[in-house]
């Protein structure tokens, strides 16, 4: 009997030291730069950098698997570590239920700031639930990247709780910028792009996910804004390559914005629509760079976009490293850059406000704030067509 107790005790002790080890590691940089004890830091916690604060931050990512989100995570982890703030990252694995449960758990563990990359984007119900949880626990919440409300319900959630903020992008902006970029490119290269010379450009559209606010906006404005530019220049509007299709887009049915879905669609499309049949797809618009890469893989197999004259313009969004390389190699035309560093910087700034005991939105005048909602910060997109 005694032996068993001893074994159990040793196990518990071992686990405890393991966890203690983890905790220490995160506080390390602060202790190094600080040199003083924690109590003094807590007394005058107005300082933001180099001080250990009592902030205990919980960060929820909609999924670790997302390329862009992974770069935000890397940048934000580095920032928080530099500021000496204790934080814990959660992977919600693309499930709103999981995320809500994780938030409950985090509040129980004593988190006093929630940073949430919501799973169900643009849904008032989902974001209101989280705000209510935060409100009940009396902790501030910062949403980022994925929209918490759509255009019709703007301010409904963010206006309901003083201690919340949104750091993200203006969802339609990427679509508008992409459309503008496409329009301008086509006006300049119209005859070269119009392979069969029928005076119209036939395009394919790769959509990342059904029902996602960003994907919807990009799918819509990527074409509409390009058409505007084309019409202004006296050219015909874009025409979807498969005139019989009711959708005018091809969507990744699993909603993962994947290169694989794009490759397979494009392979099938090209077996029917090609130069041999004089109905080649002359332009491909993609919701993100992953899908653009997939499309280019498929085009490469058919001898297009390998760096010579046979070229179909492909556009994406995100400016991933891979896409930048493709643009540099002349295999892709352009993309829209989402600023991961800028987003992480802004979130870290707000976190500093909270840990410093200031108002959440203190000193954010320099940021681009939404016209109608005072606690919604937009990180601007930028067009990228090579350096």
């Amino acid at each position: 009997m005694k032996k068993k107790f001893l074994a159990a005790f040793l196990c518990v002790a071992m686990t405890a030291t393991m966890f203690a080890g983890c905790g220490d590691k995160k506080d390390e940089p602060a202790a190094d730069s600080n040199g003083t004890t924690d109590t003094t830091a807590a007394d005058d916690n107005a300082n933001q950098e180099g001080e250990t604060s009592d902030a205990n931050v919980a960060v929820f990512y909609y999924t670790f698997a997302d390329t862009y989100i992974a770069s935000v995570r890397t940048a934000l982890d580095a920032k928080l570590e530099e500021m000496g703030i204790t934080y814990q990252d959660y992977d919600s694995n693309n499930s709103q239920t999981t995320q809500n449960e994780q938030i409950d758990t985090a509040i129980q563990t004593g988190a006093n700031l929630l940073i949430v990359n919501i799973v169900t984007s643009g849904s008032v119900e989902a974001s209101q639930t989280i705000v209510d949880k935060a409100n009940a626990a009396g902790v501030p919440v910062i949403f980022f990247n994925r929209a918490v409300e759509d255009a019709d319900t703007e301010g409904q959630v963010l206006g309901s709780y003083a201690n919340c903020a949104f750091v993200g992008t203006d969802a339609p902006e990427a679509g508008h910028m992409q459309g503008q970029m496409i329009g301008e490119y086509l006006v300049e290269n119209f005859d070269k792009v119009d392979l069969n010379g029928d005076g119209k450009i036939s395009y394919a559209m790769m959509m990342g996910e059904l029902g996602n606010a960003e994907a919807i906006a990009r799918t819509q404005f990527g074409v509409e804004d390009a058409n505007k530019v084309l019409v202004e220049a006296g050219k015909a509007e874009l025409e979807y390559f498969d005139t019989a299709s009711p959708d005018k887009y091809q969507v990744d049915k699993e909603g993962k914005w994947s290169a694989q879905a794009a490759t397979e669609y494009m392979n099938t499309n090209l077996s029917q629509f090609n130069e041999g049949n004089n109905n080649m797809i002359e332009l491909v618009i993609c919701n993100n760079d992953g899908m653009a890469e997939g499309v280019i893989t498929s085009l490469n197999d058919k001898g297009y976009n390998t760096g010579d004259d046979k070229f179909i313009p492909v556009f994406g969004v995100d400016a991933t490293d891979a896409a930048k390389q493709l643009i540099a190699d002349g295999k892709m035309v352009g993309t829209i850059k989402q600023d991961a560093e800028g987003m992480a910087d802004c979130i870290a700034f707000l976190t500093g406000n909270v840990s410093g005991g200031k108002e959440l939105m203190d000193g954010t005048d320099g940021y681009n704030i939404a016209p109608n909602v005072s606690n919604k910060i937009y990180i601007p997109y930028a067009a990228y067509t090579g350096e």
Binding site: A65, S71, T268
Partner: protein, 356 residues
């Protein structure tokens, strides 16, 4: 000549039936082959609506799409023969795809995962992915065989573990979750290049690799002791054990072989898609399992043919292709896929019930 003789015999037997039996004979034949009949109808219908469907380019597209999914289906079929399943397959494909991509990135690609390390020789990478896939399969098989756990549970666990490893891998070495692309041209041409074509349409190399895999698996299933043992264990493990089959070893080997197949699928997918991220391979096992059951590899255990697996894969791909050619609303793909699985399994079980 045997075939002709067989047909003659069968025809003679048919002649001997009275009119009522003849009727049931036709009914049975129709029902048992309902899937193929539907498939032929679907192909003809699609062709009449859009005659691009049966061009060489389109047929080649369906063949190459099917080829890409063949190795994983051949692997998973073994697990199903043992009345099991394998949920980890998709994630293993993802992990091995990312490993292949990271080891075979071209030297001039700006954000290589392994800085200045030279591009590894392709055969070595194939061995590595087979080893990684095989290892995960070995773990699956070991827990199934040793502790008698249901494969559903074991592979659910390894699916999660593999996903975790995959994410750690893709975040490591400063890659920070960026997609792994910029593959070396030798790798691309090894997989997606082609040395022969039909009517000006090139046949990608991975179609040949799939053919080799299918022949290999056919040989393993039909001509080796291991294959016979697999079916024996699948239909009745106790009986197999009593008749001297090493059930544990067979189970472990079937899973290991399946894992190796996922590794090969990952290797091919890596170059076929060209961009590999943590999402690569997600839900691949669903299509593979669906193809197996459509092709008559029964969850009852102990029955199934490699030719059935191939057919199952083709049926799925032909239907998906046809839906795009018919410009049908994409949501229907899910409904139709579900219906096919349901009908196929019902027909399969019906045969089994009749025999009982």
């Amino acid at each position: 000549m045997k075939v002709v003789e067989n047909m003659k015999n069968r025809y003679a037997a048919y002649q001997e039936l009275d009119s009522k039996d003849k009727k049931t004979f036709w009914k049975e034949t129709l029902l048992n082959n309902a899937l193929y009949i539907l498939l032929i109808v679907a192909v003809i219908y699609t062709y009449t609506r859009n005659n691009q469907f049966l061009t060489i380019g389109s047929i080649m597209n369906i063949i190459s799409l099917s080829a890409a999914y063949l190795p994983i289906a051949c692997g998973i079929a073994g697990c199903i023969v043992l009345t099991g399943t394998d949920l980890s397959a998709g994630r293993v494909v993802g992990l091995t795809a990312c490993i292949s991509a990271s080891l075979l990135q071209s030297m001039d690609y700006a954000t290589r995962m392994y800085g200045d390390m030279p591009v590894l020789p392709i055969p070595l990478v194939i061995l590595i992915v087979i080893a990684v896939g095989g290892l995960i399969g070995l773990v699956n098989g070991f827990f199934v065989a040793k502790f008698g756990l249901h494969p559903f549970i074991v592979t659910l666990a390894t699916q999660l573990i593999t996903y975790g490893l995959l994410m750690m891998y893709i975040m490591s070495n400063g890659n920070n979750g960026q997609p792994l692309s910029g593959l070396d041209s030798s790798f691309k041409s090894f997989v997606t290049g082609s040395f022969v074509g039909i009517g000006g349409v090139p046949i990608p190399n991975y179609v040949w690799y799939a053919v080799i895999i299918v022949i290999l698996m056919w040989f393993v299933w039909n001509k080796t002791t291991f294959g016979k043992n697999m079916f024996a264990v699948g239909s009745n493990p106790e009986a197999a054990n009593v008749s001297g089959v090493n059930v544990m070893r067979t189970t472990i080997l079937v899973h290991t072989l399946a894992g190796a197949m996922y590794g090969i699928t990952g290797f091919i997918e890596s170059a076929r898609i060209g961009s590999n991220s943590a999402g690569t391979g997600l839900n691949y096992e669903c299509d593979a399992i669906a193809a197996c059951v459509i092709g008559g590899v029964s969850f009852v255990g102990g029955t199934g043919k490699i030719s059935g697996v191939v057919l199952g894969i083709f049926i799925l791909r032909i239907i998906f292709g046809a839906l795009i050619f018919l410009s049908i609303d994409q949501n229907w793909q899910f409904v139709i896929k579900g219906l096919i699985i349901l009908v196929a399994c019902a027909i399969d079980m019906r045969k089994y019930l009749v025999r009982k």
